[in-house]
Amino acid sequence: MADPVIALERVTLRYPTAPSPTLRDISFRVEPGEFVGIVGSTGSGKSTLLYLLAGVIPHYLGAEIGGDVRIYGRRTQELSLARISERVGLVLQDPEAQLFNLLVRDELAWGLENRGLPRAEIASRLASTLGFFRIEKLQDRITYDLSGGEKQRVALAAVHAIAPAVYLFDHPTSQLDPIGAAEVIGAVRRLAEQQQHAIIMVEDKVDELVEHADRLILLNEGRIVLDAGPREFCLRKDLLDAAGVRPTQMAELSSRLVEAGVKLDVPPITLEEMTVALRALLPS
């Protein structure tokens, strides 16, 4: 069998200045075409985990690492950052930290030029990326003059243009308008489904992840406490509460209704499921 895209085996990580480990005994795998969501409260280690997968740790930020981190079967510690970034694209939590070209169109093109792509190919990728993130009109703008959400769209687009095999997203929709956020997460799902990209997305919009991701991983104080499909994830209220994470609004509503004695055989976790279940119950 081919190597998984990502394989972590019993990984532990401690920052040099930290008294205790930030990641503890982390193991999971991601296959091509899989979309994995990561949720956890602030400080639970989500960004650290992405840095580790992108090779930022240990190549750029030092840390004591135990266990095994592999990308396509190779240990990231033995690969250079340049080699890792041929296949892995990281979108940072703070878009301003990622943008460093004056003009939007240069921000989008420079990664492609760096990879020596022919001009025609660059032009066609840019056109499709601009449309994908609805930023056609921003091409000639100065990046630091953009609104917060516009900057985030440009940062996402810059990585999307490169089309890495593996996408790592850190809160990619934190400043997007609600429909924009839903569109981006839906579009990311299609990247996995139709083009077999592997996706790991740190995101606190559990409603959107449940709709689109294949699996959700719950981090609590550096440990994986749950790694499950959307339905099982939403129903583990005990673990979610302990980790300070809320399930979808519909999962919450389900449990409130069940508490009040309403009979729901399969507790709905999405709006669609809830609508169907209640239409059957309610007198019209």
């Binding site: 602030t42 301003e96 917060g148 809160h171 609600p178 609004q249 519909m250 209704l257």
Partner: protein, 280 residues
Amino acid sequence: MTSPPPAELAVVAEGVEFEYPAPRRVLALKGVTLRIPKGQFAAIVGQNGSGKTSLARCISGYLRPTRGSLRVAGTEVWRLRPAQRATRVGYVFQNPDHQLFRERVWDDVAFGLQNLGASPDQIQESVEQVLRRLELWDKREVHPFQLSRGDRQRLAIAAIIVMRPQLLIVDEPTTGQDMARSREIMDLLARLNRDEGMTILTITHVMELVAEYARWVIVMHDGRVLLDGPPRQVFSRAEELRISAISPPPVARLGLSLGLHPLPITVPEARDAILRRLSA
């Protein structure tokens, strides 16, 4: 509806336009007209680039409208000196890093009061009170850039509210915060609103928080106010909201598709509305 006398209004905007100057010449506000009474807790929502931050910067006096009239508590704030402005209106930036620039947490909070000419004793007392209230007291000696994003966001709020502005504008205060932290921040704004009568204007993309905390919602689209009203009324107009890339919280969408009246906008309201219908 009778309109309240001008003195009771925190913000009055009539046909406000704003253009970012040459060479860019982006017309960010194309005629904003709105009234916000004193003591209101209002949320500004809308599509990316629709002009929310630009409007907030005009209201706070950082930007001068290109056309139209804009008054805060009866005064055109851009005319005031910064020290006069600070007690009328405080603006917390969308990105806290644009606002924090001192060496220690304590200094960042004391800075505004020093500029207002407060006495050392007053400064000591107010800074301590605000830092304790925002759970930053233990970090008062830390360099702001060593704080987590969540702590920096609260610090940015602390640095502004210490000056006790009558109107507080907070631009996306919960970005990068988990749900528990987001609620803490919104609870803090609600307390300032309730206990001290501070008028609150918050910009956000999180409709669950709008439904829970705001009493008035202003929806921006393409440099104008698309619609405004109480959250329940605004969220019942899902079709119009779509124009500005807003979707009501899932429970409200559920309520709309099941025809629940009045429209539930929070989880407990939805539960109650459904239980009522089931027992009917």
